[in-house]
Structure formats: structure tokens, C-alpha cells
Symmetry: C2
Subunit: 165 residues, 2 copies
DNA sequence: TCCATGAATTGGACATTGTCCAATTCATGA
DNA sequence: TCATGAATTGGACAATGTCCAATTCATGGA
């Protein structure tokens, strides 16, 4: 039997505050959402939430593995609720869109370094870079190094991904 | 016959200025060097170089593929002169040390996404995360999410990597 | 040698993103 | 009921990279 979000928080040693629940729902509503957008979505839902509170909640949820924090180059931190499956991401160099792609292995680390240099490796982070279908269709070729494009790339379009079962 | 660095710049449509040559040497001297450190090293060498000039030179060199820009999560941008071999990186979660690891394939993209979602993929960026031998030896376990650790992680120790032949 | 023009200078302002501050109040949960 | 973790406020701060723009420098072709 699945736990309610509040129960999940308590199971992880966190008080189930309205703010944390709103943050969780915001992250569930938009995969790869930024902290700024979490604040905006949560504020609409519960009326007011402090910026400090948003960051505190996000950090607490990440620390307990309830959400995942990713940060493609040139992007602010993004948060997603698909955790524990070690999935990877496709990132568009033009518009910054981020979508999920399943990991062939399903757990970390899913790749073996040719030479581990004595490192205790616990994760192989993979990001596939390229051009998304929309930017390809529009014939966009603007470089990641273009400052304007980089700024735009940091604020991607929201792209639906299949919800995990 | 190999080209001198100045000739290489000219071949790539860049004027061979003292500043650009100093920046190239700084990047060659310390793999995964930050922009700040490039400025410091170059200033020692040629007496004075503007911050704007350092950023301009770095961006021009990256744009022409003469150096490569990477940015592990939680780190400022880093620059290296190993280009064209699609090598990957090992990053220490504790101290932020970054070392190279050869790509098994040697060119991009070296991995195939399970589902490319219609993206035109040109690179699979891989970063192996874990604990470096030094931090393991010291028994350090401090988390990447620890703010102090994150700040320290952004300024890693300089680690020798084999020079490319 | 001349000179067009790309490059560099100065050095602060700006932008973004995330953290820090700290006294006080809120609200969760035992 | 109440201890204590959480949230509030809202600006300050920090780090990193970009922008500004008039002026000067210096590269490299003629």
C-alpha cells in the first residue's frame, strides 16, 4: 500500500509541513523544475512561501532521496521526483529542454570507467546533448556559447515525460 | 610537423596575441583550471591581463575547439587542452578533484540513448562521481550537499594527469 | 613602413542563483 | 499542552560570468 506524501516525509524523519508538501507537488507537476518555479507554483497553491523555505525544503528532500537534483551545464539546478532508477537526461543545446531517458542498467553506477584512478565510484552521470525535435524542426542552430542562447537555454520549455508507474 | 601555438591560433582565424598565448599556456599547465586561476597564472607570465580579456580569450578558444570547457555540478567552469578525444572525467564528491579518464570509444557520441526522443544527439557527456583516493585515505565522507564542502569542492586540488602524446 | 581593424584595457555595474543572517513566530507531533 | 523543528522576513552576501563603452593597443596584411 502506498504511503501518502505526508507519511513518506515522516518515514524519512521530516515533519510534514504544508510548505514541504507544496514543494513536493510542484516538483511532481513539472519534471526538471527550477527552484524559482517551485517557489512560484507553491506560492499559488498555499498562498505564501518564503524563498528560504523553498530552498530549505528542496535541500531536505534531496538529502533524503525523495527528489533528485540535477544541473546540466548552463542551467540552474533542476529538481525531479523520479528517483532511484538512475535515469539519464537528454538536453537540448539550443533551447535547454531536458527530458528523461531510461538507464539501460537501472542502477548506479551503470558504466565502468576504463581506469578508475583509485576512485571509489558511486555514479556515472550521463547527459546526452543535442538538438530537440522542436529546435530541429525550426531549423535553430544557435550555439550553447551564445550568451543569449545560454540564458534562454537555462529556462527550457516544459516537456512532458511519461509518469513513472 | 606540429604547429606552434601562434600558428594554431592563426589557422583558426584568431590573431596570435600575447594574452591568448598566455591563456593557452595557463590551460596547458593545469588541467581543469578555472577562469580565475587562468587569470592569475597568465598575469604572472605576461604582467597584466584584464579579466574581460581572459574571458574573451577563453571563449574564443573554446568556440574554435582549441580548448574544452567542462563544468561538473557545483564547480565553476574549468578548461582543459585535451580536445577531440571525447575523454570523460572522474569527480570527487568530497574535495572536488577532477581527473581525466579515457573514453572507451574515443569519439562522440560514445553511448546510445535507450530512446532518443527525437533528439539529434551529438554528445554523451559522462562524469564518474565518487571519492578520490586521497579523501578515501583520509576517511572523508562529507556530502556534496554540505555547503562548506560544496564551496571547497569548487576549488579542487591540482591533480596530475598523463600528458597526451 | 603604414594603417585597418580586431583585440585589449579599465574597473565598475549588472545578472543570476543560491546561501546566510537572526530574532521572532508558527505549527507539527509527542 | 508544549518542546522544538520549521518557517518567516527581506535584505545582505558570495561566487561566477557578462556587459559597458570610450579609448588605446598591437597584429598582420598591403
Amino acid at each position: 500500500m502506498t504511503l501518502t506524501p505526508a507519511e513518506t516525509l515522516r518515514r524519512h524523519g521530516l515533519q510534514a509541513t504544508a510548505q514541504r508538501l507544496a514543494v513536493l507537488r510542484a516538483v511532481a507537476s513539472q519534471p526538471h523544475i527550477t527552484a524559482d518555479d517551485v517557489a512560484a507554483v507553491a506560492a499559488v497553491e498555499i498562498g505564501t512561501i518564503s524563498r528560504q523555505g523553498v530552498y530549505d525544503a528542496l535541500n531536505a528532500l534531496v538529502q533524503r532521496g525523495l527528489i533528485r537534483r540535477i544541473q546540466p551545464v548552463g542551467s540552474p539546478a533542476r529538481y525531479e521526483d523520479r528517483v532511484n532508477d538512475n535515469h539519464h537526461h537528454l538536453v537540448c543545446r539550443i533551447c535547454g529542454a531536458v527530458v528523461d531517458v531510461d538507464c539501460a542498467v537501472g542502477s548506479a553506477p551503470c558504466l565502468t570507467a576504463k581506469d578508475d584512478r583509485g576512485y571509489e565510484i558511486d555514479e556515472a552521470e550521463v547527459a546526452y546533448w543535442g538538438r530537440c525535435p522542436e529546435c530541429a524542426a525550426q531549423g535553430r542552430t544557435s550555439s550553447r556559447l551564445d550568451p543569449a542562447a545560454r540564458r534562454r537555454r537555462g529556462a527550457p520549455r516544459v516537456v512532458a515525460t511519461p509518469t513513472p508507474s
